[in-house]
Symmetry: C2
Subunit: 531 residues, 2 copies
């Protein structure tokens, strides 16, 4: 046996004394993971340019590094400069601390390495995934028991599709919607076979569009582009003062499309916009979609788990009328990155995207890959299952209620501080605000800021957010919101906080705001001094 062969065998198989070696490896990595999670800093203050130089080589080594040396390198040179997304003071993006059991389960999932594209490489896990999907379907649609008895394990039915994230769920939803509404009929084999150009010609449409609020996630731009519809045919309807889609404008947009002989692939409602957490009026949107006989999709990637909360689920009223619903596992189901789900009201609607191959996913099989965008994929359903069982309805309810309670606490804290302007009441656990320099504080609440005032505040907040990120002690993100000033729409830069981490306390919220005031005061002083 040559040296390479010997080394390779050791990587894959345990020699006689190997178990001790593997256990030591796991203990080492586990200690690194723990120390990372328990760390206080969000990141080091190393700047990107320095790090870019560090990771600039592109040679593949011949292969002489052992695992211990590699993990030591990563622990010293890479991990400290990554982002502590689970920190209680990192309240700027849709990340959180995760329940501790997910790391162990992910290790198990990797060791088992099931491939959920087909039964032959997953067997029970395929059925287990179908069960997890049915549980989520029931959460959204709550159909009668007989419906589930019939559909949970039927190869004819697709209650939902597990995907790598909300973007793919949204794209898949629009794909099903487009294909179902331009399906086969006498003289036409359907858009799936003949394509969009032939479909428009056969059905006599000018083009196809997608309609939703201007706060739709950017994944709908990807969907519109991918599906051949084009980003310009993604119709952005204005929002009202609560950042919900303007229903009158939506009705008008639908009428306009009908008048102009345009095919509407779908109407999209958002349950928890990324910018500000607002939730469209789903019940009314469902009614508009029903009247127009158009697929109604709800992007509840963020807001879906509000369904667990007795107190807040009314905000999603109407979601049960949606033809399809996106929910992310890696957002408010508190699961690791790479987990999304599309729920489908009709167990038959995914047939419009069905595909087969010669060696797998044959027509009557239970293979999940036959109605899916992805092919080979990991067994994330074990994590869905585990979380639904271990956290459970009441646990998720608690997490949702707490996030919204803390967002209200933060809103109150912001209102109480003269340095900040709260930009709208938070509907759920996302809120927007900004720092206002002293000389403009009196005018801000009276809607008396001029455009140049706003530009000055924008620039200050942009720099504030950059400095806060760079310093690595605490973090919020920023976005651009449209506000109405004397009847006119104006884009302004807003700070954006997401309160989803159960480890974040009220004093953490106070600390983030205090950090910002200090940074901003230094900036204000600096900018008011002569250069």
């Amino acid at each position: 046996m040559n040296q390479i062969e010997h080394r390779l065998k050791r990587l894959f198989v345990e020699p006689g004394d190997g178990s001790a070696g593997a256990a030591a490896e796991l203990t080492k990595v586990s200690a690194i993971a723990e120390s990372f999670v328990e760390g206080v800093e969000i990141t080091t203050d190393s700047d990107l340019e320095t790090l870019m130089r560090r990771f600039n080589s592109s040679e593949i080594p011949e292969g002489t590094m052992d695992f211990a040396s590699y993990i030591e390198y990563v622990n010293e040179q890479v991990i400290p400069h990554s982002i502590h997304t689970s920190s209680p003071l990192f309240i700027g993006h849709m990340t959180s601390a995760l329940p501790k059991f997910v790391s162990s389960l992910e290790m198990l999932t990797t060791a088992m390495n099931q491939n959920l594209v087909k039964v032959e490489t997953s067997k029970a896990m395929t059925l287990y995934e179908r069960q997890a999907l049915a549980m989520m379907h029931r959460l959204v649609y709550d159909f009668p028991d007989e419906f589930y008895a019939e559909n949970v394990q039927s190869s004819d039915s697709t209650l939902g599709i597990v995907v790598s994230g909300g973007t793919l769920a949204n794209v898949t939803a629009l794909w099903c919607a487009r294909n179902s509404s331009l399906g086969p009929c006498d003289g036409f084999a359907g858009i799936e076979k003949e394509g969009l150009v032939a479909a428009m010609r056969f059905y006599g449409y000018e083009k196809s569009v997608i309609i939703g609020s201007r706060l739709m996630h950017y994944s709908f731009k990807k969907a519109a582009d991918l599906l051949g519809i084009g980003v310009e045919s993604l119709i952005d309807v204005p929002v009202d003062r609560n950042n919900r889609i303007d229903l009158a404008a939506l009705r008008q947009a639908v009428r306009d499309c009908q008048m102009q002989n345009q095919h509407i692939s779908a109407i999209v409602g958002v349950a928890g916009t990324t910018d500000c957490g607002s939730i469209d009026s789903l019940l009314q949107m469902a009614e508009i979609a029903r009247e127009a006989q158009v697929h109604f999709h709800v992007d509840a990637a963020w807001g879906g788990p509000l369904l667990f909360s007795e107190q807040h689920r009314h905000k999603l009223a109407g979601i049960e009328l949606a033809d399809s619903v996106t929910i992310d596992g890696h957002k408010q189901l508190y699961l690791p990155m790479g987990m999304g789900m599309l729920m489908l009201r009709s167990p038959l609607s995914a047939r419009s995207i069905e595909k087969h191959a010669r060696y797998i996913i044959r027509p009557n099989s239970l293979d999940l890959g036959k109605r899916a965008m992805e092919g080979s994929r990991p067994n994330t359903s074990l994590l869905y299952h585990a979380a639904l069982n271990i956290i459970g309805r009441r646990g998720y309810e608690f997490l949702i209620d707490e996030g919204i309670r803390k967002a209200r606490y933060m809103a109150a804290a912001i209102r109480a501080l003269p340095e900040f302007e709260l930009l709208g009441e938070p509907e759920i656990n996302i809120l927007n605000y900004r720092f206002v320099p002293a000389h403009l504080r009196e005018r801000a609440p009276l809607d008396q800021l001029t455009e140049s005032d706003d530009l000055l505040i924008d620039s200050l907040n942009k720099r504030l957010q950059k400095i806060q990120r760079q310093a690595g002690r605490s973090f919020v993100s920023r976005t651009t919101l449209n506000v109405v000033r004397r009847g006119e729409d104006r884009p302004i830069i807003a700070l954006r906080a997401v309160l989803a981490n159960p480890l974040t306390t009220e004093s953490d919220v106070d600390a983030v705001l205090k950090d910002q005031i200090e940074i901003a005061n230094q900036l204000s002083i600096a900018s008011s001094q002569p250069a």
Copy 2:
């Protein structure tokens, strides 16, 4: 603190004595993982119907299960009925044992939970991913050092895109190809903005097509459907006796499209077909694509890592001329499910799919999400990096060479056994064969089988494969191949073996064949007796 709150806090945070608890959890799960991987059986003989009844409920529990009870349930009721994909006797699909370090690293990745969509939630990991992509780019294209110095960490450049698997890589490649070839110009904002119907009208084409061999992966059907091209416009060119695309037929197909005023989105070459491992003549295909000025994509999801082998890399000659190349991490890079990559020859070609949002992936950022199909996604680059460093060039070379050597061993074993017919020499590590009942063995090699003989053999092999799978001792898959009989194409059922697992020995190969002979003999006897 109420009971739910108390339980939740324990799931997320370690109380004073918690570390011991978490360590115990990890030890328990790690023991389950180890016992699974070291098991002998591929699966239990429980049938799907029995398991379907077990996983048929769809109620979400209120949440009373602790982790220990949950994992006990999974270990007893679910795991034994999943598939031991890493078994040395499971040689039917593109799975293998994985190097042991990947489980620990996946645990670390989960604990760190970076989101690679943007720098703000990954920082160094974004740069680390760019570096891993550059390493793979160099493997495929081997451009001069200056090219990499300029492009590895430049926000303008995209050397590759990390995706959840080969299907998304192929779809992304075709998306870039379609958009680049129908881009903006005077009087047209480009297909990305205006859509496919407007693009066809503006450029004066009848429709768009994709051309490749009939052994293309089924993900190209998904791509054709998704992109609005339609599955019927995926032009399947016949293959030659070695299962490579027929180059004369390809040239003709290109000419036909040009004559009929059809836009060709891409020509697709395959490096390692799923059915039989054949590799198209990439050099000649690149030349045909260049002449026609069409994007040339190579699906090397399976075969890409042949580039590591001095002995076999010549089989991929021409891949360096491809505009885009798919390579799967979870195939012959021996990484866990959920890892694919698209490599791009030009660092600028992904600009044709670029998207932005208000809160992230702004135009000049380094955010990886701006040129990608997926949004939020996990830090799989740590695994690519680790494997390229720890396994290294020489390690991968050994793995590739060994797989092909074992496939040749198996081919020889099959030729030596009168019970089997070898269906073509394996080009790499995938091979096709079938069991032939005693009374037809003399005629098979002489190309004298009638259609009804083939149908009888088909039915026997189909049942053989099902029984072998159900018994759970060993596994090969099956597919449908076209063979030429007296000048006529005929589809026949073939057994399909994939020799990629470094744990599979020659005696394992013998054992799989022996198992099949025993099953088939029982079947032959049963079927020759009166009912």
